[in-house]
Subunit: 401 residues, 2 copies
């Protein structure tokens, strides 16, 4: 598979990108979206069909009298590989150009073992998935990968990742180039969540945030319809925003970082303190049984009506809301989607976040603001990786920087 | 003057926009910037010259062997009107398409008197300036106006401005349409500062912030090379970000807003307290003489070596830096330019801001971060208004929404 990206005109690339985002669009809709004349849209589509890059998708389901033909990216473009690397697991998928999953595999890994251990395994899984579909390395049109740390996007590598020092400055892109000529794009997990949300919403919202609250706290930013990565790729690193000058010391050397006071480990630590002090019989019972408490157990106790657990959940939500209020005043997003492990904590947490934001943000900023849990499901990471791969492959004409 | 915007092709509009930003560019440079073939660039330029929209600017000054012809927007496009409305003054200018100032007038006004008093005066000044140049209303190609409050950009009006309630929901655009068919664009003063910085830097920086610290605190945001106004136009309203949960009550109803603790009035109030308590002989002397202290006097005392005044300045800078650290972690800008009255306070203030940001922001975010006073001079407001008018007139093909 050798897609002749360099031969494509700007109009052809734009039509491919639009077809990717709107999936099963018609020539008529394309012309409208792109402000092309009918003849220009028709000619561009015809050229792309002839090259085998776009295909007719049969008649579109239509509720009215119109029966426009649907257009979609051709499967002859190849497959997109998506890799979602977490701290303790990796998720690998091969997807059609419309990001429907054609083959998938997940397994436990320890990311701290370093790229020398993890990447050979990722490459082996990719080979197995390709074999399962009867495909070869040259059928892969683009590769996207999410990693749990700060990324220098242009270089395709992690930079000073606190949880995985062996990856610092290692070129994941070069490593995968041993097997693939397709371009490789690396991004952090939160930016991939933002891309997955954008995909779910078909790019309808230009300015929104995705806040991930789990072991750490990070934020994906969509601005003017694009991921905002910032000047050095560290945009959205909000875990060390201060919410209490007199708060506890954080490992970063400052006091009162929101991550140190309200992320999963802080919730667990507060619950353990409460258990030790006898504030909650339920938490004390579990703590004695297990020797530790997990954030999920605090959530469970809160849902069971335990007032101490609910207090901890509300306090965490309030602090995160206080941090978020600053971001809302500054950025004025239309939506904030909250994801990560903390979504299991439930509505009490969300209510506390909302209350804190509405109290501390300006009326004009919150007038139409929606704060909700992200509705994304299990394949968020690989979907985001697929969006990254497709979008950047089209943007760079198949050549990673 | 009836510029036939609707007849222009996308390529022609793009060349005009590029010529606006790069001023006196060559055909060769245009082709390179826009990824056009030499023949497409030449044909587009020729068509625009024939229409009288672009003109040869004579031979470009060149330091080497090259002597490319310069191209610039034609003066036949007309003049751009820029209005910078402050709380107590208004600045009005007519500019050539390259934003050189052709006529200018500034005078004191009280913006609180409302649009029924202020706008007739603005319109009279515009008429006088046009007459001075021997021009008429139809020679104005676009109008930009900055106002000191939150703006609904698409509607061209202020929304709930705290300092000027009579302007709430008043359509400035409709008012100016009585005199002009040219499109009218309204934005807040901080966004115009950001546009003026972008103009000074010839659009070289894609992601930066402009922080204005005066009576209030506001922030202009350039993201992906464009002003980010947010979902409801209130992006950058950072004055009410909390920097101290136990801080003094702000008029917004919350405690510890950075504006209430570190903007001009807070600096003056702290100095008056110090004067009353006898902490500074110099401040006490001035306070007794004038019955009040101004932020400029605190700056003057600090520069004269007064330790109390310097402490107040450093504390304000530290708090603003703490707020800015949150924005830096979130947005990861390459530069922060600080403007507004506080720039008179001098290097001690700037040093305190920097120290606070570098201490509280992540290393990756501050590795290449520049924090400096804005070098923009006296015509910042009208220049920003001119950039707004030119850019939006081209983008909307001369029709305001």
């Amino acid at each position: 598979m050798l897609t002749p990206w360099n031969d494509l005109s700007m109009a052809e690339l734009t039509v491919l990108e639009t077809a990717f985002w709107s999936s099963r669009t018609s020539r008529h809709a394309l012309a409208g979206l792109l402000d092309y004349s009918k003849s220009k849209a028709n000619a561009t589509v015809a050229a792309l069909i002839e090259r085998g890059l776009l295909q007719e998708a049969g008649l579109q389901s239509s509720s009215g009298g119109r029966r426009p033909e649907g257009l979609r990216l051709s499967e002859r473009l190849g497959v997109v590989a998506g890799v979602d690397l977490g701290a303790t697991s990796v998720d690998v998928a091969l997807m059609a150009p419309d990001l429907s999953i054609r083959a998938h595999h997940a397994e436990a890994i320890d990311v701290r073992a370093g790229p020398g251990v993890v990447l050979p395994r990722v490459r082996a899984v990719l080979r197995e998935l390709l074999a399962r579909l009867g495909l070869e390395a040259r059928d892969v049109m683009g590769i996207g990968m999410g990693v749990p740390g700060p990324v220098a996007f242009d270089q395709g590598m992690l930079v000073a990742p606190p949880l995985m020092p062996l990856w610092d400055g290692f070129s994941i892109r070069e490593d995968l180039r041993q097997d693939y000529t397709a371009p490789v794009f690396i991004d952090n997990d939160v930016n991939l969540m933002a891309l997955a949300e954008q995909w779910r919403l078909r790019r309808q919202l230009p300015d929104f945030l995705v806040l991930k609250v789990g072991t750490g706290i990070g934020c994906g930013i969509i601005c003017h319809g694009q991921v905002h990565r910032g000047a050095t790729g560290s945009a959205g690193d909000v875990g060390h925003i201060c919410v209490d000058q007199q708060g506890p010391m954080c490992h970063c050397g400052n006091r009162g970082c929101v991550e140190a006071m309200a992320a999963g480990p802080a919730i667990a630590r507060l619950a353990e303190e409460a258990a030790r002090q006898g504030d909650s019989a339920l938490l004390a019972e579990w703590f004695e049984r297990d020797g530790q408490l997990l954030p999920e157990q605090v959530a469970q106790a809160s849902r069971a009506g335990d007032a101490t657990a609910s207090g901890i959940v509300q306090r965490a939500g309030g602090l995160i809301g206080q941090m978020l209020a600053s971001l809302v005043n500054f950025f004025n997003p239309s939506h904030v989607f909250i994801g990560g492990g903390v979504t299991n904590v439930g509505p009490l947490f969300l209510a506390a976040v909302r209350q804190s934001v509405y109290q501390r943000s300006l009326a004009l900023s919150t007038r139409h603001l929606e704060i909700q849990f992200s509705p994304l499901g299990g394949h968020t990471g690989v979907t985001g990786a697929g969006v990254l791969a497709m979008q950047e492959t089209l943007r760079t004409r198949g050549v990673a920087p």
